[in-house]
């Protein structure tokens, strides 16, 4: 059983790290939208100018907030996975290389 738990722990550790990459991708998307949509000068300084503020406040900002919510939920799932990795060690004395490295989950 120990070997199977070791394999499971290794892959849960890998997925824990993978979710961080996924979370970072959401940040990339938010940054992309902010740069290319919120900060554009496309609307000029005349009658269309208010659109810039509207799009920033009514589209880009709530979009960023939604992504932030998504990241928070992913973070919660990651925390749970970390607890599992930690518990494997407590229960079976088996832990993956990933969870042995405290540095790997100090990025929270």
């Amino acid at each position: 059983m120990s070997d199977r738990i070791q394999v499971a722990a290794d892959h849960i550790g890998a997925f824990h790290a993978y979710m961080m990459d996924i979370s970072n991708q959401l940040t990339e998307i938010n940054s992309y939208v902010w740069t290319n949509v919120a900060l554009t000068d496309a609307y000029g300084s005349g009658l269309l100018e208010p659109l810039r503020g509207y799009i920033r406040d009514y589209a880009c900002r709530p979009f960023g907030d939604a992504l932030s919510e998504g990241r928070t939920s992913l973070f919660a799932a990651r925390s749970n996975l970390w607890d599992v990795g930690h518990d494997f060690d407590m229960v079976d004395g088996v832990v993956s290389e990933y969870f042995e490295s405290t540095a790997s989950f100090q990025d929270e």
């Binding site: 059983m1 199977r4 738990i5 394999v7 499971a8 290794d10 892959h11 849960i12 890998a14 997925f15 790290a17 993978y18 979710m19 996924i22 991708q25 959401l26 990339e28 998307i29 992309y32 939208v33 290319n36 949509v37 554009t40 000068d41 496309a42 609307y43 000029g44 300084s45 005349g46 009658l47 269309l48 208010p50 659109l51 509207y54 009514y58 589209a59 880009c60 709530p62 979009f63 939604a66 992504l67 919510e69 998504g70 939920s73 973070f75 919660a76 799932a77 925390s79 749970n80 996975l81 607890d83 599992v84 930690h86 494997f88 407590m90 229960v91 079976d92 993956s96 290389e97 990933y98």
Partner: protein, 333 residues
């Protein structure tokens, strides 16, 4: 050490937004605006002088009083903007939506790897529950991506309305310029000191206002053109105020993401539960069963809500007030 590699990086999806290729430029340094300014000045001066001369002989000049204004301030500055860049904004939003869908696929592929690469042995209640919980993330990201991609329509609509407005402005400029050139030439006859105004009085006394009816008509058309531009200013201002309502869908996305249950407060996974899975004990705690049901319901709710949001997105169109702006006739002959 086992590592999972992201199958699709964002750099391959979030590429530089593509601008539109609309060729419709209004250059404020174009000499035509000097001509327009000259005409406006000439016509306002003519009106003032004609009114004064007519008053001296006890009659009233029937032409309209054209408001003194700057052609650039009237035609150019209010309509500044770059519709090709607005098209690029739409492309960026579409790519952001594709980005979210790609994140959903990446997450799904990672989950597949987790269960397949661990020997395909992690099966059971906990595995199913964890899969379902992560499935809410996948469904939400996938659906939100679809909604955001659809949001491109809003930017396309804004760009199309901006193009329509620009086309209208170009027509108004052309008409105003046509009238300006004609009026400058005709009014010049009466603009010479003494002789010009003597001719003006003689013509009007001999033939009545019909003698300068062409000038009066052209002045009226110029007045109507300038009035149409001011009306367009008002119509565009009102249209701009309708856009926040079109963007409400982005606000609604927050609520969908907020519905993802907080796994930290209702942990699905424990090492002991996974051990049970691996040992095929098959025990189902009530917590796991409840969490699984909740996950199934949440994923379905999120999917339905996101479908509604995507279907509800409408492209902003040209308002009636903008559409009803009429371009006056140019000068005759």
């Amino acid at each position: 050490m086992v590592t999972y590699t992201i199958p699709t990086e964002m750099s391959s999806v979030l590429t530089t937004p593509v601008e539109g290729e609309i060729e419709l430029e209004i250059d404020k340094n174009d000499g035509k605006f000097d001509t327009l300014n000259e005409a406006i000045e000439t016509v306002t001066g003519f009106y003032s002088d004609a009114q004064s001369v007519a008053g001296k002989v006890g009659i009233e000049f029937p032409g309209p009083q054209v408001q003194q204004t700057s052609a650039v301030e009237l035609f150019i500055e209010p309509f500044s903007g770059d519709w090709n860049q607005i098209i690029a904004c739409g492309d960026a939003v579409k790519k952001a939506g594709l980005g979210l869908q790609t994140v959903a696929e990446n997450l799904l592929l990672g989950m597949g790897q987790l269960f397949a690469s661990s020997g395909g042995e992690w099966e059971g209640e906990t595995a199913v529950s964890f899969n379902l919980h992560m499935g809410i993330h996948v469904a939400t990201l996938q659906g939100a991506g679809m909604v955001v991609s659809q949001g491109k329509l809003i930017f396309d609509g804004i760009s199309e309305v901006a193009q329509f407005i620009a086309g209208l402005v170009v027509e108004l400029i052309d008409t105003a310029l046509d009238l300006a050139v004609w009026l400058i030439e005709k009014i010049a006859v009466y603009g010479r000191p003494w002789i010009g105004w003597a001719k003006f009085v003689a013509d009007v006394i001999q033939d009545g206002w019909a003698a300068i009816q062409g000038i009066i008509d052209a002045m009226t058309s110029l007045y109507d053109t300038i009035t149409a531009v001011f009306d367009l200013h008002d119509a565009v201002k009102e249209w701009v105020e309708t856009i926040p309502a079109s963007l409400a869908v982005f606000e609604d996305l927050i609520a969908v993401f907020e519905q993802i249950p907080d796994l930290a407060s209702t942990p699905l996974l424990t090492a002991a539960a996974i051990r049970n899975d691996l040992e095929d004990v098959g025990q189902s705690s009530q917590d796991v069963i409840d969490a699984r049901r909740e996950a199934e319901q949440k994923a379905e709710d999120a999917q339905n809500r996101l479908d509604e949001l995507a279907n509800g997105i409408e492209k902003p169109g040209v308002s009636d007030d903008i559409e009803n702006i009429e371009v006056p006739e140019g000068a005759e002959g």
